[in-house]
Amino acid sequence: MAIGTFAPPMDAAAGLAHAADRSRIWRKFVRNPAALAGALILLVVIGAAVFAPLVAPHEPTRQSLIRRFTPPVWAEGGKASYLLGTDQVGRDILSRMIHGARVSLIVGISAVLVSLLVGVTLGLLSGFLPGRVDTVIMTVVDVTLSFPQLLLALAFVAALGPSLVTIIIVLGLTGWERYTRVVRAEVLALREKDFVEAARAIGASPARTLLRHLLPNTFSSIIVMSTLQVAQAILQEAALSFLGVGTGSAYPTWGQMIALGRDFVSVAWWLPTFPGLAILLTVLAINLVGDRLRDALDPRVT
């Protein structure tokens, strides 16, 4: 059941620390046009999220029944001031999408931080303390893997009451097990290495050995996995919003826009289409960057 992504052990020297290494990684990264395109898209999305009130042409919540269902500017009846059209109550779709980027990014990044905190801690403990602690932690991992993650998130967000914080915590607590498995595998592989032995021999405490010598060696796998998890968390947040257990507020999110637009798909195709494209592009960009990071950071791949 437990199949880890077994990244190879690295010596301390092969870690991220060296400047020569860093420039090699950077060169490998920029040589790939897909990853570069991904990075540019991400910059745009992050910029839109940070400066949303400044760049959005309209208030995202302002309604006007006179101009409801205005089609996008290039379609017949489109207006230049509403580039991507308006929704069923006349709100500007582009402005709502720009504001929605905030929710997606905040949830995506925060959920991953929660997962990292839990997953890495348990992985270090599990790898460093074989026996009962390891058995208990790995059983918890197996139990977590038994649930369709989305279903578990759905049930707990509904039970705890939908809110931004609930979504972040629940997505974080349902997505940590990947880090535990990988960190555990790496700690197990590294435990007997000379540099760990040496650290122990010069009198480093177990905590110091763990945090200063073992943990840094897992960084490159962790960076890659957490990048890819941000993409998944954005998709999951959108799915939760779509299923009606979203942030519980009127602030626009991409998933909620699609859910509301679905009912009008036969009269106004642009309602669900554009927010979906925003999700697709953002997630695709993160996946491309993450995939390239994997190639660049993973010493196995040339």
Binding site: D142, Q149, L150, L151
Partner: protein, 304 residues
């Protein structure tokens, strides 16, 4: 090997106990279940119900009773339907399984040949194209894909029904939607597991014997690439069920997923608990079967 099977069985039981605990805690997380059951009742009635249902017992006692009830198939009465929750869930199970299996079958038919060809012609234009499709597929929200398919085939072309489950035509869009979700995952596994074996010595030996390339690939490489494929496909079954829940909601397919999503909106926790438990049980059993298959298929396996 026998002791390995025994240990897997023990783990199965332990994991199921854990699954019960998580399912149990869903209702606890909601706060006061009695308030959900009778929102407008006077306080005295609530206290009476709380006592009669045992909600003021210590949590371990309540959990013990919950497990005892699960074993007898009793998840309590649905707050909304006023019927036992488990039969409601089980009645909708065949629909969900049919949808999942249709999508799985469709995915396999697409992913296996494309994945093999991608691995064989590594770095060709075909391989790059397939990789692009994988990236696009894994980045699309399932529900949005479904709506876009509705827009194209039901609204614009008017060739397929928008929703429902009554005719075979109605199965096409939901199954296709779920398949767009599962195909990229499978394709990636087929490609990478083929790449792992395709340059191994025994494959080269087979080639050196002068057997045709396609025979080498199908007979020698594929049979060995099948092991990781089966394992990972089993692991991703839970992911597929998650996708099925969303797909059912988009197309109004009367399956377990739609029942659970509806129950969640009504805070009908017995249904939610029964549904979550049954789906997790399926994932656990599928993974157990995959484990057993792995032991059976892999002659090298040793008890460590």
């Amino acid at each position: 090997m026998l002791s390995l099977v025994t240990r897997r069985l023990v783990r199965l039981v332990v994991v199921l106990a854990g699954v019960s605990l998580v399912t149990f805690s869903i209702l606890q997380a909601s706060g006061d279940p009695v308030a959900l059951m009778m929102p407008e009742a006077p306080e005295a009635d609530r206290i009476a119900l709380r006592l009669s249902m045992g909600f003021d017992d210590p949590l371990p006692v309540q959990f013990g009773r919950f497990v005892g009830n699960i074993v007898r198939g009793d998840f309590g009465q649905s707050f909304f339907h006023r019927e036992p929750a488990l039969p409601l869930v089980l009645a909708r199970m065949p629909t969900t399984l049919l949808l999942t299996l249709l999508a799985m079958g469709l995915s396999l038919v697409i992913a296996i040949p494309i994945g093999i060809l991608s691995a064989v012609r590594r770095n060709s234009a075909f391989d790059h194209g397939a990789t692009l499709v994988v990236f696009l597929g894994t980045s699309m929200p399932v529900f949005w894909t479904g709506i876009m398919l509705i827009l194209l085939f039901a609204v614009q072309l008017r060739v397929l029904p928008v929703s429902g489950w009554e005719t075979w035509g109605a199965l096409v869009l939901p199954a296709a939607t779920l398949a767009t979700f599962s195909t990229p995952l499978l394709l990636r596994i087929v490609r990478s597991s083929m790449l792992e074996v395709i340059n191994l010595d025994y494959v080269r030996t087979a080639r050196a014997k002068g057997v045709s390339e396609w025979f080498v690939i199908c007979r020698h490489a594929l049979t060995n690439a099948a092991l990781p494929l089966v394992t990972v496909a089993g692991l991703q079954f839970g992911l597929l069920l998650g996708g099925a829940i969303i797909t059912e909601t988009v197309f109004a397919v009367p399956g377990v997923g739609r029942l659970i999503v509806g129950a969640i909106r009504q805070l009908d926790f017995p249904i939610v608990q029964a549904g979550v438990f049954v789906l997790a049980l399926i994932v656990v059993l599928v993974n157990f079967a995959v484990d057993m298959l792995y032991i059976y298929l892999n002659p090298q396996i040793r008890v460590r």
